[in-house]
Structure formats: C-alpha cells, structure tokens
Symmetry: C2
Subunit: 385 residues, 2 copies
C-alpha cells in the first residue's frame, strides 16, 4: 500500500443550474481539477452520484461522463451510497491508487436536482431511507431527521432555537465562498422566524435542493510533489455502515456508522480528534451535525449541540465546521457533496480559504453521510510539508 | 499487487420472483457464496445493481444489503455501469483485494425487474443509452440494438434467420441449468416463427426481463488454497469504455470498448483468444453476441455470426459461449448478470457444469457489457492446479 495525494481540485458554483445539464456540470469540475493537476489523462474515472436515474432519466454516468470529458476508453463507473456517494467514489479512487492498480484517478461527484424529469425530488431522496419500512410508511427523508431532532430535544432538554448556531455559522462562512449557493449571513432571530418545513426542522435548518459538481485528481504521494505545487496527502480513507432504518438501531441518537468510520480513520492516520484542525461534517440538517460531532469524538453524547452553542464550531473555535458554508449554505447537491467537502478541506490546508481561513490548518477531516447515518465515509487530509 | 481468487460462489434461480424482495434475493446469493467459501465475515461488500432506484424505489443498496446479510458495519457501496454493473462491482472488489486494502470481499449482483413500482421497465432500461441524444428521441434500448442488427445484416449480407444459432445454443444449454429462467430447447424453426419485438429483433433473439442475484467471495490467491477446495484465480480484470450514443462511434458495428477491454485483459493474463476455453459473452441480443465475438478476437469483422452458424459456439465447438444459457436462456437480471457469468465460468473451471461441461476447461472469459458497448468489463478466470 502506498500513500495517496490529491494533486488537483475543481468545483462548479452550487445553485439551480437550469441551463446546464448534468454532463456539462461534471465536465466543468473535471476540467478544473485536471488543469489544476496538470494532467491530461487518467487511468480511471469514478463518478459519485445518487439520483441521475430518477431525476434525469440517465444511468450509466461512468462511460457518459468519461466520453464527454475527453477521456473516452478509460475505466469508468458510477458509485452510489445515497448522499454519501461522492466520498464513496473517492474511497474507490483511493483504493485503486493506494493499491497500485492506478497511478492517476479522477473522481467527480455530480448531482442535478432541479429542472428534472421524473418524480418529486423529495420522493427520490427518500430512496436513501429504507423503502419497505420507512418510505413505504410515507416518511420522507426530512421527516426521519425531524423525528431524530425531536428526540434529541426531548432527551437532552434542548430548545429548537438552540440549533440556530449551526445555520448562523454555515451562512457566515458561505457568504465568503464564491462557489456557495447562499452567500448571505443569517441571524439567530431570522432562524427563529423561518418557515417550518417538517416540525421541528425549519427552512434555515435544512440544506437546499440544488445542482453542482466537484472533482479531485489523485496520484501516488511520492509522485505528487513533481506534479503539484501543493499536494495534499490522504492520511485516512475509511467507511462504516449501519442500518438504513433508524428503528433498527440500538439507539436512534447514536450514529454507530459514524463511530466506526471515524475510529477507523483515526487509527489509519494515527491521530485522534484533538489533532483535527477543521471538520467538514455532513450538516444536511442541524441534528446530523450535532450527532456527527458526538460520533467523531468531539463531544460526549448529547453535548454536540452545546459545542455549537458555545461558539466552538466557528472558524476561530476549537472545532471549526462547515468552513466554506457546509451543506446548509454552500449547498447539498447530494452525490457531489462528499467531493465538495474534500475540495474545501484541501483549500484550507493549502491556505487558500481567504476570509474563512482556519489558521495553521494542517489536518482536516471530511465526513460524508448517506441516509441518516447508514453509510459514513471519512477522509482525513494532511498538508504535505 | 497480488493475485486474487474466487473462493465461493452463490446464485438464485433467475425468474419472475414476485414473492421475493430485492434484499432477500441478494441475501440468498451472498449466504450461498459465504457458506461455500467458509467465511463468516468480510472486509467489504460491493453491490452491482442498475435499477433499484427506478424500479423498487430504493437506492443505498450497499448499507441496506450489508445489514440484511448480517454484515452491519462493513464498508459497502453500490457500483453502477448499466447492464455492466455486476462485473463493475467485481472489478472494484478485485482492485481492493489485489491492492492489499482488503483480504475478503463479497461482491453481489442483484436486480429486481418484475413486480415493480416506478416506470415501465423498458423506459428504465433506456437509461443505459444516451438520454439527451438517444432516449429523448424515443429510441428504446431494444431499438438501438435493432438498428445495429439491421445494419449488420445490410453490411454483411446476412438474413434474420442466420441469427437463430445464438438462441438455439443458449436454450439448449439453459435447459440443463437449474438456475436458468428458460429450461427448454428451441429450434431454428421456432426462432423463425417468434413474435417480432422490434424489427428485426424477435422474442427469441431478446433476453428476458427477470429477477435474480449472484455473488462471489474474493480472497488473495495465496490464502485461497487454505480457504477453498477449488479456488479460481482471476487472471485478468479489465475495463474499456466507449460513447453511450452509437452515432458518436467511428463505426457502429465495432465495439471499441470491448476491443480495449479484451486487449487489456489478454495482456494482463499473458494470453490470447486462442487460449480461452469458454467465453461467457453478453448476449442481451444476438447482435451483441456477434459483435462481441469479433471485438474479442474470435472472428474477423463481419464474421462473428458465421462462427455461430458453423456451430463453433456450442459446447463442443471452438469457442463455447453461453454455456449455462447466457443472458438469453439463463436470463438477464441486468445488474446481476456480470456475476452470473463469472459464477458460471467458475463452475466450468471446477468441472461442475454437468451436462454442459466444456471438456478440460482451464481458462474461461466473462464479458459484461453496459449499454450497447459503452462499458465493457472483462474477467479471465483460471483453474488453480
């Protein structure tokens, strides 16, 4: 096994791109990443995507995107793990390069959720949950999270308003990110007044439906220095899974998949949570952010939200999260999100995060979650000195 | 890089399983493969599937199937490459074991195409083709193949009836396969009288819509002997891609993706087509079988069909194909097909193919195709002496 590095990154602006098709979005991100890496070829292309079949009437994105990006002939597949698809595709690319089966791999996450054919996007997203035991009962994906949030408030005595800091922090950071969908700050007062979506989840506690693509180019770390001025080492790539249906878990408020995934990542990198300088977590909803902080060892059970309330999740805090806006403000084009997270961690480690720069960032963690914690893919990135 | 072996195989009967859900189908195949391999754990589970979202309203099969198969917590993803999804998942498993990132990997291909929610299955299958340039014009997937078949007949002067040997051979072999959907022989006369589906493709030239699952367990070859009485070495695992849209290719009657994929596989195994004892090709339609024989080097351009007409594709011929019934008679549960092919090659190499045994089979090739040749995944298997 050999070390793997990211030698190029690319991303489109996240938004409602009614005038840009899925393949064009993917192309834009891939081109930016390959130009950044200074490569014109690749041994493989892995595409992270969840809903192209349901929403765009298009499966088979591997070969489609490869051809459209000028890579015709290359090994190419789509990898799917619901909203964790992006990082799942990255994991596959990591495995191929680490194991020596490929030298250069391009990984792109792409999702087009607006201007769709096919069913209602909310119905499509429910396919991340257990179809027979959750979705068939009429429970949408936001409803699963609303139930978890209500339970969290009940168990630990939090109010709805206590969740505001996640949105406030994400929007503050997103305002400075040119690729973010929402580039404006929100106040706790605005959070309090936001329209209810699925009680207790309101509009400002919910990540948006949107389009976007992000890409990275991978290479062996020992070759990366010659290829890139600022390569980023992948210090860990790890996966944990859990039941899709929340009712099958030992405790609905414990993300066992995230505990497994993070523990495996820490072991691989030889570090612990205290060494992490920033954490791009999966804030599809505030409740997921709180549970993720706990599963990753940054807070005890029931105390993840407190970390946010105490301001420790801000760029100047102990565990900066969603430093470029997160799923909430940068946006959550589901199959692309995992790659956006990694691109943003790389930006931070390269010192290119502008007004949102975490000082002296050396180790960053990105955690992409499929479903309500059923697939959890964790990557730890490290600046190469 | 280390050698990889198959140490266990499993398969369900292919058919219309209205009483068995997708997760149960996958479980049955996985259990059989794991019991066969004598293992109770795995480092990863990769699921090949194309249409669970569209037809069953369920994405996120990796974690779902892992949990249902008693493997909760393990790394698990779905891999998709249209009808090539099964072998694409196997390719990912091969990469993980060959590169030393996993010791035991379970790969399952599963598809449930009958008793569905969602759209018409024919509309869903069209998602393997180019949505913007083919499907949007109303061209179904069988129509793309009908156009290719008509062109092949026109260019090389074949009649419709010349395609009969593919169906006759597949059904003769399927009759002896307890896992096949169609266990009866058909004659060339019956082929001539079969109902037209999409001129010139008739019912007996078309693989069926059906349900099924097949699985394999992978391990490093040097450990395989201790784990299995009859391990099968994966001598090559290779992928080639091409445009989804047939009109974008240099010649619609040349499968460049298959040429690339097969050439890479031969190079990896250090052999040529003359060394292959049987070839499980992707006979979704007779025309695909003819073009595959040509792309894989068994016949010159325009002569693949002649190989069938001369009887050389039969078990006693020079290039036995579809030895357990192929897509035509065993059935074509799309995302599972690539694993069925590999399971059947393993059966042949182990001498367990019964009445359909290819004498002295030592090297077998399985080739799984997504779309009309856009993704081509080739595996060459070898009996370990």
């Amino acid at each position: 096994m050999r070390d793997v590095a990211i030698i190029g990154v690319g991303q489109t602006k996240v938004g409602e791109h009614w005038d840009i098709s899925l393949r064009h979005l993917a192309l834009e991100a891939i081109q930016a990443a390959m130009v950044g890496a200074g490569v014109t070829r690749t041994d493989a292309l892995y595409v992270g995507n969840m809903l192209s079949g349901e929403l765009a009437g298009q499966e088979h994105l591997g070969a489609l995107v490869a051809d459209f990006a000028g890579l015709r002939g290359v090994e190419a597949f789509k990898v799917e793990a619901a909203c964790g698809s992006g990082a799942a595709a990255l994991r596959m690319g990591y495995v191929a390069v680490a194991g020596g089966l490929a030298d250069i791999v391009v990984v792109v996450g792409v999702e087009k959720m607006t201007d769709t054919l096919g069913p209602d996007t909310t119905a499509a997203l429910a396919m991340a949950a257990d179809g027979d035991y959750e979705a068939a009962q009429g429970v949408s994906f936001v409803a699963v999270n609303a139930l978890l949030m209500r339970r969290y408030m009940h168990e630990y005595g939090y109010s709805h308003q206590d969740f505001a800091p996640f949105a406030v922090n994400a929007h503050r950071n997103g305002a400075n990110n040119p690729h973010a969908m929402f580039r404006f700050p929100v106040t706790a007062e605005r959070f309090a007044r936001a329209r209810m979506i699925c009680d207790p989840i309101n509009l400002l506690d919910s990540s948006p439906i949107c389009d976007g693509a992000a890409a990275v180019v991978l290479a062996p770390a020992d070759a990366a220095r010659a290829l890139s001025a600022a390569p980023i080492r992948i210090a860990a790539s790890a996966v944990g899974t859990d039941t899709l249906a929340v009712h099958d878990r030992r405790d609905p408020l414990v993300l066992d998949g995230a505990i497994l995934s993070t523990r495996r990542a820490y072991e691989q990198a030889g570090i612990g949570p205290q060494d992490i300088n920033l954490f791009e977590l999966h804030d599809a909803f505030g409740i997921m952010a709180a549970l993720s902080l706990e599963a990753a060892g940054f807070a005890d059970k029931g105390r993840g939200l407190r970390l946010a309330m105490e301001g420790e999740i801000r760029i100047e805090g102990r565990v900066p999260v969603t430093t470029m806006g997160g799923l909430k403000a940068r946006g959550h084009p589901v199959g692309a999100t995992g790659i956006y997270q990694v691109v943003e961690v790389a930006q931070q480690l390269r010192g290119l995060a502008g007004a949102n720069q975490v000082p002296n960032a050396r180790l960053g963690m990105a955690q992409n979650i499929g479903g309500s914690g059923a697939t959890v893919v964790t990557h730890i990135l490290e600046r190469m000195e």
